[in-house]
């Protein structure tokens, strides 16, 4: 096996991906192994590159929201919202109060759905099928709420430039919060398994440790950074209704796979609490302002996605089609840290390590 041209004596290069059982998405690594130990990992990308940033030149700026939402189907609402916010910054649009609070509601809903999805996939990665299915069953309630309030299960389609396109009634939102309390009870039950079960702890504890200094230096974001002890959350920068809400940022210090799981489990609980508060304080009135004219100038925003900080930049020249759109996604920022963690790990732990950054290749390659 050591006859591979890239490998030195005693080393083996094995391909990981692009079509791989544990990853729904095509991510490819060339792993150089010494026996079972990974000594080098080279990511290869481009399998899902579509070139959608350039599509902004061919689309009306109000229509491009649909494309922006499809940067990634997991955090679709926040991608659409980030683009809309960037356009709104350029055009000096103020979204009405109810619009802002509804957007915040969907943001937090998406965080719950994404983290639950991740917990399930992580369980699948270390072979705990039962936990995978239990987690995804709880997640279906969240998707039902999304479908009822926004109109779509995964692609919400409810964010437009200037506000939101749907306006669910207060009674609907109240009923949704009641439904979500079931998710909260279920999450507490699942968390016991995740944090307490010896087989899970064996696969997650002290695996893929990323120190605080390394995480900061390599520019990790989101739960990956917070699990290494850095208190960093874009929501505190204050966009949409976040300045009026108080919420805790979840920080763990051990920096291993278990810490990342704990950060996400605690964030689910906090987001579910926030959802209740948002609905209780939901203001009335219109949800969107009319958009006149075309944007001219440059605008950028940063939002905290389930996977971490995302940056959106738009440059427009006064025509209906903007000139340039750029998005820096959290997975892209987390890949250097992931490679750092992977080197020195056991081959059997590689799927778990890849999963704990919660990779979204569709975002990364766009």
């Amino acid at each position: 096996m050591s006859g591979s041209p890239n490998a030195g004596p005693g080393l083996t290069v094995i391909p990981f991906g692009p079509q791989h059982p544990v990853l729904p998405e095509p991510l490819h690594f060339d792993l150089t192994l010494q026996d079972e130990k990974v000594v080098d990992a080279i990511p290869q990308i481009g399998y899902i590159h579509r070139g959608l940033e350039m599509l902004v030149e061919k689309r009306d700026f109000t229509d491009y929201v649909h494309v922006a939402e499809r940067i990634c189907g997991i955090c679709s609402f926040m991608h659409g919202m980030g683009y809309c916010e960037a356009i709104e910054t350029i055009m000096d649009l103020t979204v009405p109060d109810r619009g802002r609070w509804l957007r915040t509601f969907w943001c937090e809903l998406e965080r719950v759905h994404s983290h639950l999805m991740w917990l399930g996939l992580a369980a699948d990665a270390f072979g705990f099928e039962n936990l995978f299915h239990a987690t995804w069953r709880a997640r279906e309630i969240v998707l039902d709420v999304a479908e009822e309030t926004a109109g779509g299960r995964v692609i919400y389609g409810s964010c437009i430039v200037g506000g939101t396109s749907t306006n669910p009634e207060n009674e609907t939102l109240d009923r949704c919060v009641k439904e979500l309390s079931k998710v909260r009870a279920e999450t507490i039950r699942l968390a016991e398994v995740f944090i307490g079960e010896p087989t899970v702890r064996h696969r997650l504890e002290k695996v893929g440790v990323l120190g605080r200094g390394k995480a900061y230096a390599l520019g990790a974001v989101g739960p990956m950074l917070r699990a290494s002890g850095v208190d960093y959350d874009m929501r505190r920068k204050g966009y949409e209704a976040y300045p009026e809400l108080t919420f805790a940022t979840m920080v763990e210090t051990s920096g291993d796979c278990m810490a990342r799981a704990k950060v996400r489990i605690r964030e689910i609980d906090e987001s579910l609490r926030l959802l209740g508060e948002i609905v209780a304080r939901m203001p009335g009135g219109p949800v969107a302002v009319p958009v006149k004219g075309a944007p001219e100038g440059e605008g950028w925003v940063r939002v905290e996605q389930p996977r971490g900080e995302a940056l959106y930049f738009v440059r427009a020249n006064g025509k209906r089609n903007p000139e340039r759109f750029r998005v820096r996604t959290p997975t892209f920022a987390n890949i250097p840290a992931m490679v750092e963690v992977m080197v020195g790990s056991q081959l059997a732990d590689v799927p778990t390590i890849i999963l704990t950054i919660d990779p979204c290749i569709s975002c990364t390659e766009r």
Binding site: P18, Q19, H20, P26, Y47, I48, L52, R70, I155
Partner: protein
Amino acid sequence: MGGVERSIWIVHYDASSCNGCDIEVLACLTPVYDAERFGCIVTGDPKQADLLLVTGGVNNRNVEVLKSIYGQMPEPRAVVAIGACAYSGGVFSECYNVCGGVATAIPVDVYVPGCAAKPESILDGVLRAAAILKERRVALRSAPRNAKKGSTEEGARR
């Protein structure tokens, strides 16, 4: 043969989808939609799969991967293209790196509509493909042994 009919092994490949259809495919396998009640399970190994589920359009980088996965599958086999992107490139059809739908690379048997496709329609697509698989299996069995390869021209069905 009845047993095999209700035991469809699925391999899933994400061509250049936005993940929306992918997570709906996974949702099909989990308790609420539960594709396993029809005997479907997901395998990572194309050599043991009956059915290929493809989400997203084809681009220059993954066209070879897709052809290779399809080529490794034993006959009889069927392909389900899920979502608008897998049909024509969908919302990304004008992107510079998207060549078009899945049919530009491999023959497709069933198209599932939607952006993102809903789990109900994905299950429907899988069951339709299962019926096609059954026909092919019968054809394979009844064909004379030396003509076996030519008897199931996959592309002819489209």
